[in-house]
């Protein structure tokens, strides 16, 4: 292994890959350290939405950040296409959250109102639509659909292809990808970071911790703080079918390949090898009540994945005061925010400091005393 990298990114999932790709794009020499074939990889276990609506209640800055990401995604998709020839199938023609029955419609209406009333938040242009209005865009909805919210900024993408495109782009940028090297220790000496892996030590001037939930363990090694609260989600996937769903929903989307993904649960259970079929049953039951035509499709796959989730649900971007040059990045929405990670976070890491006006709200100092002691709060 070389030892003179500008930056070592710990974590080769969608978030780490986006930052690494962004750094490579700026001409930095980058090493990406990743786990192996069986890692709990959120890049494989995601719902692939590029999603805006309903995000950021309780943190107005997150709404601004999310809208920025949504707007930058087109540029990311086209740069990836140009570089790798891979079409990540970005579609941003607006997305729905459908409700079943009047209670759900009422609850969603309240949520939309609260989002609107939040001061300092970006305007999501989110609106409630009646069932008949929804039907104009989604003609196949069933009689139980009471309406839903629509946000014109919402969309989705082929997340697996995005992941592949980043990794294909690594070659072009000269980024070195090292799988099967989980990092067990990090130290700093002689002005550089030393990362211990089962296959030897790697050195770099800067490091970005992008290891998902494992950031909680890694962050304290370099004076950072990243409290995580992972949850499990289950997804059901059908066989390929002709296109029938022109917009993505919070819980149903049709991939460009034709499969239909149905999500998603939120469970405390953290074993991603097991499944609870009764939960899949709730998800698929709701899906077929929204679109009765789905009933006959075959389910070819279901899986559980572990969400990367900072404790309060909002992203953490931070830099270390005790170990200058060490950064941490973790968030739940690695797909939606990929554009910001590739362009903005990479740019800031390259220049050596996070910008408070852009991402200051995401410092872990918000977690109070424990965080404040370690993180800069820049």
């Amino acid at each position: 292994m070389r030892t003179d990298y500008d930056v070592a990114v710990v974590g080769g999932g969608l978030l780490g890959s986006a930052i690494a790709w962004g750094l490579g794009r700026l001409g930095k020499s980058v090493a990406v350290l990743d786990e192996g074939d069986i890692s709990k990889r959120a890049s494989r276990a995601n719902f692939a939405l590029v999603w805006v609506q309903s995000k950021g209640l309780g943190m107005p800055a997150y709404t601004v950040w999310t809208v920025q990401a949504s707007q930058a995604w087109g540029r990311l998709a086209s740069e990836l296409k140009q570089q790798t020839g891979l079409d990540v199938a970005l579609q941003q023609n607006g997305g729905f959250h459908l409700t079943l029955g009047e209670d759900e419609f009422g609850q969603r209406t309240d949520l939309v109102k609260r989002m609107h009333n939040q001061t300092g938040a970006a305007d999501y242009k989110m609106e409630m639509l009646s069932a008949s209005e929804v039907k104009k865009s989604l003609p196949l909805i069933g009689p139980e659909v009471s309406g839903g919210s629509f946000c014109p900024l919402d969309g989705h993408v082929n997340s697996l292809r995005t992941f592949r495109a980043f990794h294909t782009g690594f070659k072009e940028f000269g980024i070195e990808y090292f799988p099967e090297r989980p990092v067990s220790a990090i130290s700093k000496s002689g002005g550089e970071f030393r990362l211990t892996t089962p296959k030897g030590e790697l050195r770099a001037a800067k490091i970005v911790l992008a290891a998902g939930n494992a950031n909680q363990t890694l962050a304290p090694m370099v004076g950072l703080y990243a409290p995580m609260g992972p949850t499990r989600g289950q997804i059901v996937v059908t066989e390929r079918t002709m296109p029938f769903l022109p917009h993505p929903l919070t819980t149903i989307r049709q991939t460009d390949e034709g499969t239909v993904m149905i999500g998603d649960s939120k469970e405390d259970e953290l074993d991603d090898r097991t499944l609870k079929h009764s939960i899949s049953a709730v998800m698929t039951d709701r899906a077929q009540r929204m679109f009765p035509h789905l009933a006959r499709l075959n389910v070819v796959r279901s899986w559980a994945g572990i969400r990367v989730m900072p404790q309060d649900g909002f992203p953490i971007y931070d830099q270390s005061e005790t170990h200058p040059g060490a950064f941490v990045a973790c968030c739940h929405s690695g797909v939606t925010l990929a554009s910001n990670h590739a362009f903005e976070i990479a740019r800031m890491v390259a220049q050596g400091a996070l910008e408070a006006e852009l991402v200051g709200a995401f410092s872990a100092s918000r977690f109070g005393a424990a965080g404040a002691a370690n993180n800069s709060g820049y």
Binding site: E239, T241, L297
Partner: protein, 98 residues
């Protein structure tokens, strides 16, 4: 591609393949009946549209997918024929609701 041995004395069953009557035998699977008939039973795949016929005949390869009585993507090698059954050869992805 296949023909019936003369010793087969099972009663006949009539099925319809894309609307055309096809003679099958009681106990045939849909795929066996198709391969024994003269009809062009090639489906085309949902990915590239490439033509396929059954490969394994034991329920593992999914190259025998057909629409049976209006329901798409059934494994023809696991479903026995029945009098009057309507079979459609699938071209590409199935349609939702079918």
């Amino acid at each position: 591609m296949f023909r019936r041995s003369e010793q087969d004395k099972r009663p006949p069953v009539q099925i319809f393949v894309d609307g055309v009557a096809v003679a099958a035998r009681q106990g045939d699977t849909v795929s066996a009946a198709l391969l024994a008939s003269s009809c062009d039973a090639r489906r085309s795949t949902a990915v590239s549209g490439a033509p396929r016929l059954p490969y394994c005949m034991m329920g593992v390869c999914f190259d025998c997918l057909v629409t049976i009585d209006g329901v798409g993507n059934r494994q023809g090698c696991l479903v026995p024929v029945a009098e009057g059954m309507q079979v459609e050869i699938q071209k590409g992805k199935r349609e939702i609701g079918k």
